[in-house]
Amino acid sequence: MKTSINGPRTVRDRRPTRRMSRSGLILICAILASTILCSPGESKLVLDVDNPNLTKMPIAVADFVGEGGPLNGRTLADIIKRDLYLTGLFQIVDVSRSGQHNEPDFESWSQSGAQAVITGAFQVTGDELVFEARLYDAALKKQEMAKRFTGRIADHRRMIHRFADRVMEKLTGTEGCFSGKIAFAGEGPKELYFMDFDGQNPFQLTRNGSINLSPDWSPDCRSIVFTSYLNGKPDVWVLDLSNLRQFPISARAGLNASARYSPDGQAIALSMSFKGIPKIFIITTQGNIINKLTNGRGNDISPTWSPDGSTIAFVSDQAGTPQIYTIPALGGEPRRLTSNSNYNTDPDWSSKGNLICFTARIDGRFQICTIRPDGSDFRVLTSKGANHDPAWSPDGRMIAFTSDRDGRKLIYIMDARGQIQEPVSRIAGKGAAWSRNFR
């Protein structure tokens, strides 16, 4: 039976419709006031993601109701389930009776143990897909959110991811990252690619027959800066995503590599060795030097910006082995951050500001680790195979990285605490970079 799609509706109040007497009004205000004052604390559907003792929120996603075209309601629901599962914040629960999309079955949902429930309904007409999805608080028996999407059937994944991003925003205060793309450097051929964060829709970005490395997204998702040997040496190039044209911005003598856009997209930090040995420089997006940031006898590479643009973390072996340092973006003295092992590289600074992920060689093997910018709370997140090149998702909840634990060097993603780690790329790759959500 097809469900008709109306606009988003809130649950109807049961207020009396006759005109109220003044005393009746006062009575209702009094009841409301006492309810608010005596309410048993936090009852809203909220995930406190910074709580170290966080337990996962049980959430159910009912099969979407509807039919038409190549889609089915189970597939659409499964995309949401996988998105939420991968954040490590949710326990996906089954609901035995989904109820109709606009008639929530709160009784059955409570029995299943779900704290939140998502339902949806969709309709296909020709090439067009319309769906509406809602988020319910099962305990309070309340609808929290309703969203409606229209688009082409071929874009159904992107539409569902956008809804899941809204669910994350509702439940945690921060938009999800499921609408982002992960760019990476392939291993054979060594061209640049991007894919949905979950590995779907892979796309080849470069076809220049050369070695291409270290992609980084501009904040507006319009450009990718990368290192390429197109002209026979490592130079920094920019790829314009609107037409896939590539042009060099730093082809100085020696090494030009590991370029990273500043958070406002106005500058690029990179490593260049044209003055002798690799040092960190800041350049404009046209390639003109703004500042030479580091000095000394070390080899300096892999800069990453703090989210407020004030500080840069980078790799230097000035103390004899590669370690991670921080330095003010306007210049100053470098401060060493890592000392847990004699090989720490690949720093990436979370957009939430409070964590840096990096690669560490521990007992001869490479693992992804996190540390706070003040050097505290060092954690090791991986343990199998060789793991390197970590990159935060733009909401700071997940990390993309390369691992060879299953034989090939694939791009994996994991939640920020390393509980769930899964491969997403279909081809071997490294140098993952996670874009902001595509609009």
Binding site: Q246, S273, I277, I301, Y343
Partner: protein
């Protein structure tokens, strides 16, 4: 204006557009040559040395090898570079020192390490009398191993600087 000058102007505009389009088209390497590997020629810079002389020079220049995580020159490497310097001082060619790492370690730091290895070689050659303006460096990090096996025998062959005669 006359129709002839209109046609000439149009042809000029078309020619300029074709030139601009050509400049922005990326180079596609279809000849199977790989930088850093034997036989790679690199972009043709034009020069006065014959192709046969260049091939002879290239065959006589020997690679140098490094310890794990190191860019300093061993005694054996210094001796090899000394012999290479003697060859280069007698020839009027430019040389590119290509620095490489083994597959262990992380990709970006290996770019820096390969660059530093190449610089160590170039500084030694300059110190041994080779004109500095004929020397340049290219790092390939761990991207181009000569031996793709996953053992120390392969790794030690991959931690190298290869001197390529530039054309």
């Amino acid at each position: 204006m006359s129709s002839r000058s209109v046609i000439h102007t149009a042809m000029l505009i078309v020619a300029v557009c074709v030139l601009i389009a050509g400049c922005s088209r990326p180079v596609v390497r279809s000849d199977g040559q790989q930088p850093g590997m034997p036989g790679f020629r690199g972009p043709h810079l034009g020069g006065q040395v014959s192709e046969r002389e260049i091939e002879a020079l290239q065959a006589n220049l020997k690679p140098i090898y490094f310890d794990y995580d190191q860019f300093t020159l061993s005694l054996e490497s210094q001796q090899t570079l000394q012999a290479n310097a003697e060859i280069l001082k007698r020839a009027n060619v430019a040389v590119v020192a290509e620095g490489h790492c083994d597959e262990r370690g992380t990709a970006e730091y290996n770019l820096a390490l390969g660059d530093r290895r190449a610089r160590s070689a170039v500084e030694y050659l300059a110190g041994a009398g080779v004109q500095p303006d004929r020397l340049s460096t290219v790092s390939y990090g761990s991207e181009l191993p000569v031996d793709p096996s996953h053992n120390e025998a392969a790794w030690s062959k991959n931690r190298r600087v290869h001197l390529r005669v530039a054309r």
